[in-house]
């Protein structure tokens, strides 16, 4: 019930801010902060309460669970569950949402604005908690609509192409995801007699043949578009420029794609993902290198942050498909750390826009004299994103690389080149914006207390992850172990259904 409460509070907050906006233009913001704050409060309670893991049936280590029938005619249920990974991601989403709303500027039509933001956050949290495949897809798509509306209404002039690109990429890949889900549903039903979208039932179903590989590709395409991986990254740059601040920080930076791979694509298709692992790791390396190249060549600070986050996600991709535990721990840490550091850079970019009207780094320079606090914090996060030891990013990337080295050493060597390139673009930011010669005389104000506190919290978080990641690692350890065990179980026992491989081919005749 508590999981449903989390979502209901967010949805309710969205509706209330929309209604309240008819009378007051400042109230929706506080209502949103209140809703997210309440959820965070609940979640922190859950975090500390669940330090003793529950083991039910000797198999399941879910901390919380909620089930309800949704549309029984089609066999859809609402199944929400939370384990370590989900809890970490949900807390991260809500936390970043809270911080970014604190520092975001005011707009007009605030009710609709916060309505969409809350719907988007609810969608993202729902993705992390949904375990009925249809419900997962529902939340997946539900994330897109509010973000599109936000981009259209609050972006720059004539951004129809960019917002459309975003929606087209994610929606088209979502359709592929839908077809894969439905096909999985039917295949499972035809084999085992009962039709289910339930994740837990589908977990025990593994057949290796061309058909399931196709389904896995369907899942993967959707997740790769969201991640984003190199051929499918076209939507990201435009979205970072057009979407308003909180949307950027939560909807785009918290990579639901990575979660989808770790929770759905790999466990549901263990054998196919092993076969695909090499290709995926090569794609990951390409992503790292391409992202870093592009980040180095951009002038707009937000685009630099966008491409640098693409580069970090390349590390995540390598880590996911290296299939060992230390890698996956690194993946979780990387999701948090790179999310935090990229978001912080974006917050700083928007702060610069508010003060100087531009975040083009060629036009800024020598800001340290005028705004020491802003520059100091900016430098900190630029250095964090390049991977200085002592901060979260370094630890995460190190874990990923050391785990991936076990799996495939040559790819890992190429990936490490990405570390060097990360240094290049991060230092370029520092050099062009904060130090270096002054480009013009800006009379700008330094950070106010609100921004200092928000970014200060993010700094503490980054250092904490870098030096003391144990709480997070402990929380997620059990879930990762569970998925890994399942992987190896599937590898050891030949599935009895393999023998029927010939009859398994779906009838593709038409």
């Amino acid at each position: 019930m508590i999981l449903a409460t989390l979502l209901i509070v967010l949805f309710g907050g969205a509706l209330i801010s929309l209604i309240v906006s008819m009378w007051s233009n400042s109230l929706p913001r506080y209502i949103t902060l209140l809703a997210i704050g309440f959820d965070l409060f609940l979640l922190f309670g859950m975090w500390f309460a669940s330090s003793i893991p529950l083991i039910i049936n000797n198999k399941i280590i879910w901390l919380y669970s909620f089930q309800m029938n949704w549309v029984s005619a089609i066999g859809i249920k609402i199944i929400l569950s939370m384990d370590g990974i989900s809890m970490v991601m949900v807390i991260l989403t809500l936390f970043m949402g809270f911080i970014s709303i604190l520092v975001s500027p005011r707009t007009n039509h605030e009710g609709f604005y916060y309505f969409n933001i809350l719907l988007m956050i609810a969608g993202v949290c729902g993705i992390f908690m949904a375990f009925d495949l249809f419900l997962f897809f529902f939340f997946w798509e539900m994330m897109l609509l509010p973000l599109y509306l936000l981009m259209v209404m609050y972006g720059n002039e004539n951004n129809s192409k960019k917002s459309f690109k975003f929606l087209l990429y994610t929606q088209a890949s979502g359709l592929l995801l839908l077809i894969s889900i439905i096909s999985l549903f039917f295949m499972h039903g035809k084999f085992l007699g009962f039709y289910t979208f339930n994740y837990f039932d589908l977990l025990n179903f593994s057949i290796v043949n061309k058909t399931t590989s196709l389904f896995m590709l369907g899942f993967l395409v959707a997740f790769f578009v969201k991640l984003p991986v190199i051929p499918f990254h076209g939507w990201l740059g435009g979205s970072f420029l057009e979407a308003p601040l909180p949307a950027v920080v939560t909807g785009l930076l918290i990579k639901t794609g990575a979660y989808g791979i770790i929770r759905f694509a790999i466990p549901l298709f263990p054998d196919s993902s092993v076969i695909f692992a090499n290709t995926a790791m090569i794609l990951g390396v390409l992503t790292i290198l391409y992202g870093a190249f592009m980040a180095f060549s951009q002038d707009d600070l937000r685009l630099i942050a966008a491409y640098s986050s693409i580069s970090h996600m390349g590390f995540i991709l390598i880590g996911l498909f290296a299939m060992n535990e230390i890698c996956w721990q690194g993946v979780i840490l990387q999701m948090i750390a790179s999310g935090v550091s990229s978001s912080a850079i974006i917050i700083i970019a928007y702060a610069l826009i508010k003060r100087t009207g531009t975040c083009n780094i060629t036009q800024l320079g020598g800001l340290w004299e005028k705004v020491p606090v802003l520059s100091g914090i900016g430098t900190f996060f630029a250095i964090a994103s390049l991977g200085l030891p002592g901060m979260g990013n370094f630890l995460a990337e190190f874990m990923i690389l050391s785990g991936a080295f076990k799996a495939h050493s040559i790819i890992t060597v190429f990936a490490s080149i990405g570390l060097v390139m990360a240094a290049a673009y991060s230092l370029r930011i520092i050099q062009k914006v904060f130090v270096g010669k002054k480009s013009s005389d800006f009379q700008i104000a330094d950070f106010n207390i609100k921004e200092k506190i928000s970014l200060g919290i993010l700094i503490i978080l980054t250092i904490w992850i870098g030096l003391f990641p144990k709480p997070i690692l402990d929380k997620t350890k059990l879930s990762i172990e569970k998925i890994m065990n399942q992987q190896s179980n599937n590898k050891d026992q030949p599935t009895s259904l393999n023998k029927n491989e010939a009859s398994v081919k779906g009838n593709f005749n038409f």
Partner: protein, 473 residues
């Protein structure tokens, strides 16, 4: 056997139309006539619940009132009730003689209901003509505009031609099957392995006529022009009720066919479906007029619907009915918004006219956006549920090529739907006067019903699904 009581909804509509004629002759008052017409429709709607206790009812060999008919009656009547309401809003400010409109609306509705419940080719033809002839006049209502006249003439000529083709096809089928009763036709379809040439020809002609009525490619050319030229409420009726009636009959004809014997029919229908999907979506990309966009999108939607029909079986029929219901309510919602925007009979149906609608009237903008999102198939709206249901039926029946076409076309469809939504939410350009749009009570009611239905069915379609499966045994 002939059970008069089973025909109650039909009789009520017929009696109401006669009453309307008599009242119009003596007392011309738009409000009164509209109210009278609405009353008649409501009585007919509630009578459905009463006669559903005494199903199935036969009226000779021509008309069968079973669960299927009753559900479609209900759907059609809900659609026409909403159309009646927005019709009043639209014609309130028009100077023409508008009271006859309601008479024709009733007769067309009667025709639709006859088509839905007919199990004999003769009654189908009767219903078709009952539907079409008043429709010609309704489309021609805006006869002072060149678009209106063009639309009316186009529809008149094409409908007349397709009726004659239908007649010829029915004659050929009579020759081959021995009776005009549908059940002999279905029996022949299910049992003969090689169709004789004349039978194939006859079936082809019937499919042609149905294709015209349902606006499937390649019989779709009239659709954008007629939709644009007719007044908005008439377009709503044309796009929902008349297509619904034809589709119901198509379900009766083709739902029970199977692959072995009627493979050629399935092939033909699949080709029609694929063509319609592509034609509809590709045509709509270049349109700038919202009504034409809706027209082309309806071509595409019926292409999708055919997938459910082809997959056949009871589940296919249920999926098709659900999709059709959602399509009805979405279309009526969209046309209601267009009606409200129209002033003095002058329609504001260009995309540019919709620009900045959010700042002129927030509710209208959100409702229009929701309707378009539903047509595009976004979650939280009913369109998503219906498209999902359709896709799962298709996958279950292994029609993979059609499913891929569905996906590709849904992605193409996004483009033009989003163009309209984008225009709604952008602020208007400097020189455009920003005037607030006020909505009347009736309009608000119709809008509210459609909006709530679309969102409700998007989140909890269980109720409607249960009703459908309950009635379509």
């Amino acid at each position: 056997m002939f059970q008069f009581s089973a025909l109650t909804p039909l009789l009520i509509i017929a009696i109401t139309s006669v009453v309307l004629i008599l009242v119009t002759a003596f007392y011309r008052n738009h409000k009164f006539i509209a109210g009278l017409s609405l009353t008649g429709l409501l009585i007919a709607f509630f009578s459905i619940f009463i006669i559903s206790k005494t199903m199935p009812g036969w009226a000779g060999k021509l008309i069968l009132i079973d669960g299927f008919s009753i559900f479609y009656f209900g759907l059609t009547l809900v659609a026409v009730i909403l159309i009646n309401i927005i019709n009043y809003t639209y014609f309130k400010s028009v100077e023409e003689q508008k009271e006859e409109f309601y008479i024709m609306l009733h007769v067309s509705t009667l025709g639709t209901m006859v088509m839905i419940s007919s199990v004999h080719f003769a009654s189908f033809f009767l219903g078709l003509e009952l539907l079409s002839i008043p429709l010609y006049v309704m489309i021609a209502y805006s006869r002072n505009t060149p678009f209106g006249v063009e639309a009316a003439i186009k529809y008149f000529i094409l409908a007349g031609a397709s009726s004659s083709i239908l007649l010829f096809g029915m004659a050929l089928i009579y020759y081959e099957c021995g009776s005009m009763d549908i059940k002999y036709f279905i029996y022949t379809l299910q049992t003969t392995l090689h169709f004789p040439f004349l039978l194939k020809f006859g079936i082809g002609m019937i499919i042609t006529a149905l294709g015209f009525k349902l606006a499937l490619a390649p019989f779709h050319m009239w659709t954008p022009d007629v939709y644009q030229g007719a007044p908005a409420p008439v377009t709503a009726f044309l796009s929902t009720a008349s297509k619904g009636g034809a589709f119901a009959f198509a379900i009766r004809l083709f739902a029970l066919i199977n692959f072995e014997t009627a493979g050629s029919i399935i092939t033909v229908l699949s080709i029609l479906a694929g063509l319609s999907m592509f034609t509809g979506n590709l045509l709509a990309i270049r349109q700038n007029n919202v009504k034409r966009i809706l027209a082309c999108s309806s071509i595409a939607h019926f292409g999708y619907l055919l997938i459910a029909l082809i997959s056949g079986g009871r589940i296919g029929v249920q999926a098709a009915t659900f999709y059709l219901s959602v399509y009805f309510i979405t279309t009526i919602g969209a046309f209601s918004v267009l009606t409200i925007l129209a002033k003095n009979g002058k329609e504001k149906d260009n995309i540019e006219d919709l620009r900045g609608l959010y700042f002129r009237n927030r509710f209208l903008a959100v409702i229009m956006a929701t309707m378009f999102f539903s047509l595009a198939g976004m979650p939280l709206t009913a369109g998503f549920m219906s498209k999902y249901y359709l896709a799962s039926i298709g996958i279950n029946a292994n029609f993979w090529i059609l499913i891929w076409l569905l996906i590709i076309n849904s992605a193409i469809g996004l483009f033009y739907y989003l163009r309209v939504v984008y225009s709604i939410f952008r602020p208007s350009v400097e020189n455009q006067k920003e005037e607030m749009v006020w909505v009347s009570v009736g309009g608000s009611f119709a809008l509210a019903v459609s909006f709530i239905a679309v969102v409700w069915l998007g989140i909890a379609p269980g109720g409607l699904l249960d009703i459908i499966s309950g009635s379509l045994k």
